[in-house]
Symmetry: C2
Subunit: 423 residues, 2 copies
């Protein structure tokens, strides 16, 4: 792995300097090759599905493993959308004349070499590799072992087509063994960024075992807060979507906070709507006394269920809701349901999360739903990328300074003066 990433690092400058025409053309050819070779991919997926059957993999997981015409059309549509997006690199973010003939430009550029470790989902491999191609990054990809055959078929098609269409050899590498993860984490000289996707423990493990910067999130403890002035019907509709639309997702709501001013009748109405949707409620003593639901301790409000279960708590208005979320939450995505716009703005400003929502489901936290085409993951880090990470999160920038013999001494001695002018 050290040799692979060292070579990749030295090739990454070639990858970074491919023109946007070349990068888009690679994507176009990859899209066509995937369609042309679909039978090989479906064949490989059949093997993975048979293995899943043998190993008694849960149905919900098998759904993710499956790669059929429908999934193929999703990913090829995604590539088409990516091609149409503007070039995320070589963008002049700002330029400024510092003095006569001394021009400073800030230019977006690829991050370099990215290691991405992701769950058993073949469509993720296609999404991630096409995002890296469009943004001029090299990538080491490690997918879940349950889709090893499908991943291999997909990767071979994508990599072969990319190199034939002008990408440097070694611009992508598929790691297949689990032991290669630790090897990858040790390559801090050649790998610029690690993006882990998967369970809380897995992401924590990655974060604690590498010196390479890690982008992503471990927990997704999302909150929906129903304010005193909320519309009860709207609240029911939103919370049911936020909790049940896809419980295994990191952006599902795990805790429901309700203003005491919302009233006991409305509280019961929301609780009933959740129960009718087969959601199990848990609450501290106050909540459990009112609703007769399972009682939980106050120290359990940082629980991520990823299941049809929700924590409920009563609070005194928006201030207490904000304090609870900033303390117990995971800075991922949190929502206020209210008709009071002052409370709304207060919540949106003070909650310290990558996504702060008004009157809509936390499930919207997703690169596709934000119009990014695709995402490599969702970041709760504040340093660099936050929220769904699309193309832009895969770029950094450099400062280019253009002079003509300019020296600092002229400015520090006062012979010349800076003359800043934004261009």
């Amino acid at each position: 792995m050290i040799e692979v990433t060292r070579k990749m690092k030295s090739d990454s400058y070639k990858m970074a300097s491919l023109s946007i025409e070349t990068r888009n053309n690679i994507l176009k050819n990859v899209r066509e090759a995937l369609i042309k070779n679909q039978q090989d991919i479906f064949e490989a997926n059949k093997t993975d599905m048979e293995n899943a059957e043998k190993n008694n993999i849960a149905d919900s997981v098998k759904k993710r493993l499956k790669f059929d015409e429908h999934k193929l059309s999703d990913v090829t549509n995604g590539i088409q959308q990516l091609i149409s997006l503007p070039d995320p690199i070589n963008k002049i973010v700002f330029q400024r004349e510092l003095d006569e003939n001394l021009i400073l430009k800030r230019i977006s550029c690829p991050i370099g070499v990215i290691g991405i470790i992701f769950e058993a989902r073949p469509d993720a491999l296609v999404q991630i590799s096409s995002l890296c191609i469009k943004s001029g990054n090299c990538a080491v990809l490690k997918g879940g072992k349950e889709t090893a055959n499908t991943n291999k078929a997909l990767f071979n098609i994508i990599y072969k087509t990319a190199v034939e269409s002008g990408a440097p050899e070694g611009c992508m590498f598929q790691a297949e063994g689990h032991s290669e993860i630790d090897e990858l984490l040790a390559c801090s000289k050649s790998v610029d960024l690690i993006i882990p996707r998967g369970s809380n423990q897995f992401v924590q493990y990655i974060m604690n075992n590498t010196k390479i910067p890690v982008m992503g999130h471990a927990d997704g403890i999302c909150h929906t807060y129903i304010d005193g002035s909320a519309d009860a019907d709207k609240a029911c509709k939103i919370i049911i979507d936020a909790k049940t639309q896809y419980t295994a997702a990191c952006n599902s709501t795990e805790t429901l906070l309700i203003d005491r001013n919302f009233g006991t009748d409305n509280l019961r109405k929301v609780a009933e709507a959740l129960s009718d949707s087969n959601v199990k409620l848990r609450g501290n003593k106050e909540v459990s006394d009112i609703l007769g639901c399972e009682q939980m301790g106050d120290d359990e409000y940082n629980t991520e269920y990823l299941d049809m279960i929700i924590s409920v708590k009563l609070v005194n208005g928006v201030d207490e809701a904000v304090a609870h979320i900033n303390n117990y939450g995971s800075h991922h995505t949190d929502c206020i349901i209210t008709e009071n716009m002052d409370n709304a703005e207060k919540f949106l400003n003070l909650v310290d999360s990558a996504g702060v929502y008004l009157n809509c489901s936390t499930r919207f936290a997703d690169g596709f739903r934000y119009g990014f085409g695709a995402e490599v993951g969702i970041s709760t880090s504040k340093i660099h990328a936050r929220g769904p990470v699309g193309l832009e999160g895969l770029t950094t920038y450099k400062y280019k300074l253009y002079g003509n013999g300019h020296i600092v001494d002229d400015y520090s001695t006062g012979r010349k003066n800076f003359n800043f002018k934004d261009l």
Copy 2:
């Protein structure tokens, strides 16, 4: 320290929500208070200078410790400049209609709580704290012990004025004991970012001993490459500034790469110009055979001298120069001297550094010289801030999503379709 930063974290949301008028007014009052209380500051600085004298501190360091009318006017001018800069937070970076009445906005916001550990320079304390005030961040400040008295006087004036002018109590804290550094590094729940300034070993120590993200740089191994087509006089002028204008700075050139096509006569001319400026040259066997300078091993080209010494190496054109810099450099700031614009663009595109310069001194890598007003440091990280970090590097962003009962299920079932429109 845990208690201090926990309280600071909960106050950081108040700090973040101060209006730009309040933040600018705090800066205005801080500026006036510094001028009004200058005698107290100078008195405190006298004590520090006397201690420096007793402890036989080097003259070059004493220069930095000194805080006189001249330094005061520098920092108050800096504050004036900061006041005039636009608000770096609450900026709508982009907004997009996802569908009818579902509006996504990306808004810049403060990072939260920043721990800054800096060298013994009283002006740095003023710069850093005013940058934090303008950007709505809370800060734990720890300066070098040699300026403890001056720092205390400055901090007391700044903090007292800030709170009297509307900043929340506990928005800033000055750590005084050296042991508090390790305590600060352990506060990963409350501190969002550590910015260390100082020696290579010190910054490495910080990076290896905290889970908090660290922004900054350990090494400053900057290169100047003289291309075959360079103008020899221009090259001499630039390299002398880049090496000698302030040798202790991270942006001074440490290695001079010269294209063999530049010619032996021109090489001698540059070497003589450096020797005449009292710079000692070191080179591998080839260089030392030509110039008669001290010989060095090829494995020593990653040396940061911070002194009147420079490493010299001959290369075959821009490709070898780029490969050397990307391998031996520290991704800080590197320059090409050339009259060939194709070589220039190649170098600027392929060198993987925060600053890539054409025909000017590497010493320009500085927040003030970039027109940022001031800087909290220079970052060689690619994740988030790169190069001199001014106001913008002290902010992150959040996504605000405004809906009216919107749920994801409508979109995933196809009842509704996204309708992306940039606003």
